[in-house]
């Protein structure tokens, strides 16, 4: 018992000794450094889960800052591996590291970061609706506090129009989405309104998991003339499963983003997550280097939208596309 207590005490003393060493070193560094040396920015990146679209956004963000700042930026990229609680732990680490800026990728990551600090600038990406994610009523594009970023909101009205243009005879449009996706609910609401205005009947089909997607997709195929899938991470993960069902049932799919369209859709009006991340990186540059005030920065959207089609599935459904459509390459 006594021995153990002594050991514990010694460990504690050692920890404090080590800690004070670290501090001393920092102070020495400060006094030796020439004043003129340009500041190296420390940027923490917290990403909710390993996912192709989110990975692309993180990559674009890093590339943009590296282009602008070269070696003067250091990244600390951490992934929550799908557990929202991990985002809180990771952000907590960034705050003790006193990073200059936090990039939070996906809604729970942004919410965790916004809770943890009201001082360090936070840029979000892969978030569809910032008003909902930050609990701001009547959101007008700026948060008024330390959060801004880029939205992955696709032009939903134009996507609904695309459904109408490509399938003028379609009556029932099935909307297939995952109920655990923060972003999908909003998209489904908006696109349903657009489809109704265009004289079509939207019908919602939500799945909860990779396990029930096939059954829900089957039901959607049975009841609809065309299926629309919004920008939905879970749907993107299961796109092949959806394709297996829909191509047998002969129901065409219009997708909210390219990844889904590549696997199971005929056409999409898409944003590129790499570009979105890149745009976020440019915002970060303005904040870090030019001292822009993040609380007054408007949420930005993807720089450009592209109409794309899936050649193999287009042929299957006998659709031909004009020159304004770009074929998705394998």
């Amino acid at each position: 018992m006594k021995k153990k207590l002594t050991a514990l005490l010694m460990i504690a003393v050692l920890m404090f000794a080590l800690a004070s060493c670290g501090q001393q070193k920092e102070e020495e560094n400060n006094s030796n450094e020439p004043v003129e040396e340009p500041k190296v920015f420390h940027v923490g990146v917290v990403q909710l889960v390993q996912h192709p679209a989110l990975d692309a956004a993180t990559e674009g963000f890093q590339d943009a800052l590296k282009e602008k700042l070269g070696d003067r930026v250091v990244f600390d990229v951490k992934n929550g591996s799908g557990e929202p609680a991990n985002c809180t732990t990771i952000v907590n680490g960034f705050i003790s590291d006193e990073v200059d800026l936090i990039m939070a990728n996906a809604t729970p990551a942004v919410a965790a970061a916004a809770t943890a600090t009201s001082v360090i600038p936070i840029l979000g990406t892969s978030v569809t609706e910032y008003g909902a994610a930050l609990d701001i009523d009547n959101f007008n594009g700026t948060s008024g506090f330390n959060v801004s970023g880029t939205s992955d909101l696709a032009p939903l009205d134009q996507q609904a129009q695309m459904v109408k243009d490509l399938f003028p005879d379609a009556k029932v449009v099935g909307i297939l989405f995952c109920s655990s996706e923060a972003n999908s609910k909003y998209q489904v609401k908006v696109v349903s309104e657009c489809l109704t205005k265009l004289g079509m009947e939207p019908r919602e089909f939500s799945f909860t998991d990779t396990n029930d997607i096939a059954a829900v997709a089957q039901q959607a195929c049975d009841e609809s003339d065309v299926i629309y899938i919004p920008t939905d991470n879970k749907a993107a993960d299961c796109a092949e499963t959806i394709n297996n069902v829909a191509s047998v049932a002969n129901v065409p799919i219009i997708a909210g983003e390219e990844g889904i369209c590549k696997a199971c859709g005929v056409a999409t009006l898409t944003i590129d997550y790499y570009d979105l991340g890149h745009e976020t990186g440019l915002m970060a540059f303005e904040i870090l280097e030019n001292g822009a005030d993040i609380s007054k920065m408007e949420i930005r959207y993807a720089p450009e939208f592209t109409k794309k089609f899936n050649p193999a599935l287009a042929e299957k459904f006998g659709l031909t596309f004009g020159s304004d459509y770009v074929a998705i390459e394998d």
Binding site: E83, D135, S180
Partner: protein, 334 residues
Amino acid sequence: MSVIDYFYSLDPAKLLKNLPGGVAQGILWGLMALGVYITFRLLNVSDLTVEGSFATGGAVTVVLITGGGPAWLRAVFGASAGQFPTWAALLMAFFVGVLCGLVTGMLHSYLGIPAILAGILTQLALFSVNLHIMDMSSNIPVSVDKYPLYVSGRYVLRSIPVAAVITAAIIGILYWYFGTEQGSAIRSTGNNPVMSSAQGIDIEKMKMIGFALSNGIVALAGGLVAQYQGFADVNMGRGASVIGLAAVIIGDVASRAIFKGHINFAVKMAFVILGGIVYYAVVILVLWLKLDTNDLKLFTALIVALFLGIPYLQSKKRESFASAAKGGSGNAET
């Protein structure tokens, strides 16, 4: 980067600065683990309902605090138009958690479904229930700037004592309860169901109460964690059973290392909270060591396996003839 550069890049001061956040998260998840302790240690069953009921607690708390929920419930607490009291939101989370536990208990007792499966079934169902509670959104933010939250990641140093006081109060209540006739009956049910039944204890009822109490505490913890992280998410219960188990085992190993012989029940429960803190300290250490977070779950599993293995190895060491002659030590908790 060479190995030496790597070690130079690690700053112990930063690790220390990081610890308070870990302590706060550790206490809150430790409270969740206290719920796991009731089923895992006292009832001697593994209950996986927690991954669902934890998120349920978060959802109920956040929905009520942010102005949602049924009108009659708001009227009961005099909050028809105004702010729903935070304590009442947590109380509701506890009650809904109790209901979740009762469902598992009924599946187990009335339909004869093995406890682990009954828990998985309830957890599965709760995913949909949680979505309904949150009005079909998977993530609802709750900002500390807008609502009177008890704990928040924004104010770590204020959150720690608040979390500690709430946890201490719950440990106190549990200590009293498990000393009552009913509480003792629950403990004896876990220790020896056949003997308890022979003594006239309704063991099915006792298990049901155990499941209910356990999930009530888990949901309460979920409500506090949602406040701390600033949002309720339908996936927030992910990993809860592993973290709970880890905290219980770490607490167990630590208490046995420090105390010899009989350990007071309240102290045992306090060590579960300590287990939660140690768990988060280890996670923070892993992050501080700049290990790739893609491997985070691998490290987590390794840590839990390590602590799960320690009691077994210790008991093997004890299982000599000498200690057997002394009467050895029983496995069951008392």
